[in-house]
Every structure is written in C-alpha cells, then in structure tokens.
C-alpha cells in the first residue's frame, strides 16, 4: 500500500511528432482506485507503463510511497501489472503462472502452493490450476492474470484495460467484482480504460486525459456534473452531453433556431458567443416548450432517447420509456436551467 505521485512528467517517443505525455501531475492517495480515462493515443497507457518501469519519463518524477522510482527496474518497484492481453506464460500451467512471482522470490514450494490456492479460491479458479492458458476461456485467463498480480501483495496494482477483451456481459460482471476486490484488499489501484462507463462505475476518482494532457481529475459525480471543458463534457456520459453554440444576451442564451434558455444567474461571463452544454436528461419534452422536429426515437427499455432537430442543431433527449413521438412530428422541448453548463466558445473551458 502506498500513494503514487506523478510530478510534471513528460514523455515523447522518437517516432511520434508530439509528446505522448505532457506535464502530467497528479497524486493518488493510498488505497484509492484511480481510473485513467481517455481515447486511444491519449497517453494513459504510457503513463501507466512509466509507473511500472517499462518506460522512463523524459522529464519529471514519479514517486511511490514518497520515494522516487525513476530509474528503478520494474522488478524493484513492487508493482503488479495486469496486461490487456493478460500476458500469461503459455508454456506454464495456471498454477505455475500464478506462482511465478513467488518462485522468483524463492518462497518454498509449500508456501507457494498455499498462497496460490488461497488466491485461486478468492477468484473462484481453484479448479483451473492444472490447465495451460490455451485451455482456458478469456474470462478464466483474465482471472489467472489477476491472481498472479494479487498473489504478490504489491504496493500498487496497475491495470491496462484488462476487461476490454471480455464479452459485454462478463465485462460488466467482472467490473463489479474488481471494485469489491480492490476495496477488500485495500491496495492502491491505477486502472486504464477508454470506456467511460467502466470508469464511472469503478473509480474513486477519474483522471481524464486527451492527447497527453490531463483534462480533469475528480470523482465520477464531479466529472459528470461539472466537466472542466468540452472534451470531458463530450467524453463522459452516454449519450454525450449536447453542446450547442449560442450567444448570450444578459439573462438568456439564444441557441441556433431561436431557442431561448434562461441563463444561469451567477454566470460571470460577458455577453457574446458561448457554448451551452446540456445533458440529455437536462432537457424534457413538454407541450409548451420550444418546437423541435423529431428525427429518431431510440427505445432502450428503461428509457427512450429522442433525437430532435432545433433549426439546424440536433439534440438528444432522455425521456421516460412511454414517450414515443413519431419521427417527423414536432414536439416541445424545455431545458432545465439547473442543468445548463457554459463553456467558452473559443477555449472550450467551462465557465459555469
């Protein structure tokens, strides 16, 4: 158990034009589950690998438990990494795979066996121990990889998209198990993913990255309700937040198509162009609202997503499952003022 710190870390690969990680600074307190979230190529895996010691930062420092680990070999850092491909040794049985880190530490065979079976029982794979990786399903392989990480009792767990190779149902199931497991073990965990739903469900805090730069770090509620910029606003949430170019006139915002939304009272930005953010659940369908043309209706069982067109601007609205306007018809829409978020039209940064 230890806390982790990135202090102004930079990393550039010779083969790429721009830096993979730019000035990353963040602190992960002990026992926290932090998710590094972002699209492909945003630098999250590179950041994780630098923590593991598989890459070295060009500049900046990385600390575990207060002590710098830059320059330390991976084997001396006491961190465990679960790879996306699981990286199980194909020529060893599951038992030998899980026991490998213990063998390296020269534990006696009896001790190895005991620890391996304890962890295997914890993950429900005790019966799979004699098999080779090629004889295991994807989900079973993933658990073996997990067991191999757990058996070492490291200071920090690192996970590089370990669930992306699982089918959807198993992924959701394993997600919950991982969260419980991490809480029980009480070990600091850094989890990399591009799936925002996974991040929201797992994380104590989420660090959103894009193109090597940290966009925002906060609890799932914080990044969802108060995104720091348009990138985070669009990335988190499914369907993504509606972003509408608008112009502000004192106490109202005028969106394309003439839709007037009452402006939030405390906003300090001057009049002019802004970007308005409204989550699909922040808009409701009401008879006496702004007219909008229904383009499509997507039923999801527990809710309905209605695609509408206001002027030339398209929006998605979250509605109750019995709301079923016909495509091509017109409905009225109304925005909840409390749900309005404002972003600077040029920088994309949140102003409210």
């Amino acid at each position: 158990m230890a806390d982790v710190e990135y202090v102004d870390v930079w990393k550039q690969f010779a083969s790429q034009a721009s830096a993979a990680v730019q000035g990353l600074s963040l602190t992960i307190p002990d026992r926290e589950l932090l998710v590094l979230l972002g699209p492909s190529g945003c630098g999250k895996t590179t950041a994780l690998r630098m923590l593991a010691g598989l890459e070295e930062p060009d500049r900046g420092d990385i600390r575990i438990g207060g002590k710098s680990v830059v320059g330390l070999e991976p084997k001396d850092r006491d961190v465990a990494l679960v790879f996306q491909s699981y990286a199980l040794y194909p020529h060893l049985s599951a038992q030998d795979n899980i026991g490998y880190p213990l063998k390296v530490r020269h534990l006696s065979r009896a001790e190895q066996r005991e620890k391996v079976s304890r962890v295997a029982d914890m993950l429900g794979i005790g019966h799979l121990l004699p098999r080779r990786p090629a004889q295991l399903s994807g989900g079973e392989q993933q658990r073996v990889a997990l067991a191999r990480a757990i058996v070492r009792e490291p200071r920090v767990f690192l996970m590089d998209e370990p669930l992306s190779n699982l089918d959807a149902k198993l992924r959701v199931h394993t997600r919950t198990e991982l969260k419980t497991l991490q809480r029980e073990l009480g070990t600091t965990m850094v989890f990399v993913t591009h799936d925002q739903a996974e991040a929201m469900s797992l994380a104590n805090r989420i660090a959103v990255l894009n193109a090597g730069e940290l966009q925002q770090i906060g609890t799932p509620d914080e990044v969802y309700d108060r995104p720091a910029n348009v990138f985070v606003a669009e990335f988190i949430g499914s369907p993504p937040m509606n972003l509408l170019p608008a112009s502000r006139h004192d106490d109202s915002l005028v969106v394309a198509g003439g839709w007037r939304i009452p402006a939030p009272a405390l906003a300090s930005a001057p009049n002019g162009e802004v970007t308005v953010g409204l989550r699909p659940e922040g808009i409701s369908i009401e008879a006496d609202g702004q007219t909008a043309e229904v383009v499509a209706v997507e039923p999801f069982g527990s809710e309905v997503i209605v695609d509408v067109l206001v002027g030339s601007q398209s929006l998605k609205i979250r509605a109750a499952p019995d709301v079923r306007p016909n495509p091509g018809s017109t409905v009225g829409i109304r925005a909840d003022p409390a749900a309005v978020r404002l972003f600077d039209a040029s920088t994309g940064l949140a102003t409210h």
Partner: protein
C-alpha cells in the same frame, strides 16, 4: 417448443429432420491419373540416386550406372573402415558439425534476440547489413578466407573449421531467429520483469522456451550446412587426420590423371554411413520443433 405468451411472432418447433449430409465431390479418374503420375515422376527423380547408392554400396564392382550387384557383399563397408580410415573421417565430421551447431545456436539466439528487442540507434542498418551478407556466394570468398585463415593460423585445425562453418550460417539464421523472437509478444517478458525476474533470466525462462521451434530449425540447418560443407574444407584442410567426409568424397572422385580408378562401391558405402547421423539430427530437431510448437504458440 413454442414460447408461451411471448411477444412478437411465434417460433414453431422444428418438425422436419435435418437433411442427410452431402458426400464430398469425388475427383474424376483423369484427375487422379494425372496427379498420381506427376507424383510418381517426382518421387522417381528423387529416389533413383538413393537406389544407386544402395545397389552400389553392396557391390564390389559397382559402376556409375544402376546395376543389381552380381555378388552382394558388405566388403565395401569393411574396406572403408580398414583401408580408408573412414572412422576417423566420420568422427571429424560429427565433431565439427555438432560443435558448429552448438556455437551457431548460441550466437544466433543472442543476436536474434538483440535485433528483435533492444533499442539500438542504427538497428535497421545492422539488420539489413546482416541480410546483405547472406547474398554473398561462398565460392567468391574462398580466396580471401584462405588468406585470412593462413594468417590467423586457422588452417588444419578444428577451430578453424568450426569458426568458418559457423560464420557461413550466421547471417541467415540470425535473420530467422529475429523473426521468431519478433513473433513472441513483448508483454510476456515485461510480465516476467514485473514478477521480479532480471532481463537475462527472463530471456532464458520465458522467451527461449517459446522460441524452441526457431531454435530447432536453426540447429538443424546449422548442422546440415556444416555436415555438407566442402568448399571451405578444401581450402582449410590438407592433413589427412583432419579430413571431413565431404573432403573424402571429393578426393575419392579424383582419379589423379587416370592412375587410380574411381571406386564407386567404396564411395557409395561411405555415403550410406554418411546419411545416418543426418537422420538422427533431423528427427531430433523435428521433435524439438514440434514440442515447441505444440506447447507454446497457442493462447498467446
């Protein structure tokens, strides 16, 4: 079973049995004849020399033509060991070939791993340079190697034979091993490093077992190349006690201006004995390859 009270269309239970499996299309008689005749011709082409070998080895009055031995005898085999010192020649060949094989496998596994994994500044140049060496014909290097070997005192020595035989095979086999190492995911070694293994030990415990098919091929090819090498032996060896089998063949075929007759029977007997270690090595290398392929490459 029909689903009760379900929404949508009812899905009826299956009432008909699945159709009988269709038989695979049989090749017509003309196809069969053509294919098998070509097979026969190709097999004959490859097998006839062996036929000669077997018939001549047991015939004291063998000629360059295939003939059934008038009086089949094993005297040829006896003679090669008593009169022509074949035991010594064979032992030399075995020693040199095995030593070459060991040296080559050691060298190419390290070189191949380095070219595959290490981050060298001019790695591309080095890799292509290695490949370029492969294009050099051996015969073009005979004279320079003669000079070099003489200067270094490598003529008429086992060391010289082994080093030169090994050098010939290095470019191609380094390239081969690099390819095999490239196909082993880096994540496996990284996992081993994180588990606590040093780089070198991870190479031996995790990577090399997975590269077994490649090592098997490299070992087999290195052995065979050294076993059959004649050009280099001709320029390096002129002492009788260091002769290898290819050199013995070469000398046996020379008639020294017509004074000695070519003894086909003796040569054939030598050739038959010469084949045996090859078969041993072949089966050994093949087993190594198959074992490696079966245990490792799935599940990666």
């Amino acid at each position: 079973m029909t689903a009760l009270a379900a929404g949508g269309e009812q899905v009826a239970a299956r009432t008909t049995a699945p159709p009988a499996p269709r038989r695979a299309r049989r090749a017509g008689p003309i196809e069969w004849l053509l294919v098998h005749s070509v097979f026969l011709v190709v097999c004959a082409f490859f097998l006839i020399p062996f036929l000669w070998l077997l018939s001549a080895a047991f015939d004291e009055r063998a000629s360059a033509y295939i003939q059934w031995p008038a009086a089949p005898t094993i005297m040829n085999f006896v003679r090669i060991f008593t009169e022509h010192d074949f035991a010594r020649v064979l032992a030399n060949s075995v020693f040199v070939a095995v030593a070459t094989m060991v040296l080559v496998v050691f060298a190419v596994s390290l070189a191949g791993y380095s070219l595959s994994r290490l981050d060298l500044r001019h790695k591309d140049w080095i890799t292509y340079a290695v490949l370029l060496l492969q294009t050099m014909p051996i015969s073009a290097t005979m004279v320079p190697i003669y000079g070099l070997a003489r200067q270094l005192g490598l003529r008429n020595s086992y060391l010289g034979l082994i080093l030169i035989h090994a050098a010939i095979e290095l470019p191609f086999l380094i390239w081969l091993m690099k390819g095999f190492f490239d196909s082993i995911p880096r994540h496996l070694e990284e996992a081993a490093w994180l588990d606590g293994r040093s780089r070198v030990r991870a190479l031996f415990e995790i990577v090399l077992p997975l590269a077994r098919p490649g090592l098997g091929i490299a070992a087999g090819l290195a052995f065979l190349s050294a076993w059959a090498e004649v050009l280099m032996v001709v320029i390096l060896i002129d002492q009788d006690n260091l002769k290898t089998v290819p050199l013995a063949f070469y000398e046996a075929m020379r008639t020294q201006g017509g004074y000695t007759e070519v003894q086909y029977g003796v040569i054939a007997a030598m050739a038959v004995v010469y084949l045996l270690p090859v078969m041993v090595v072949f089966f050994g290398a093949r087993r190594l390859m198959i074992r490696g392929l079966m245990s490792s490459t799935r599940g990666l």
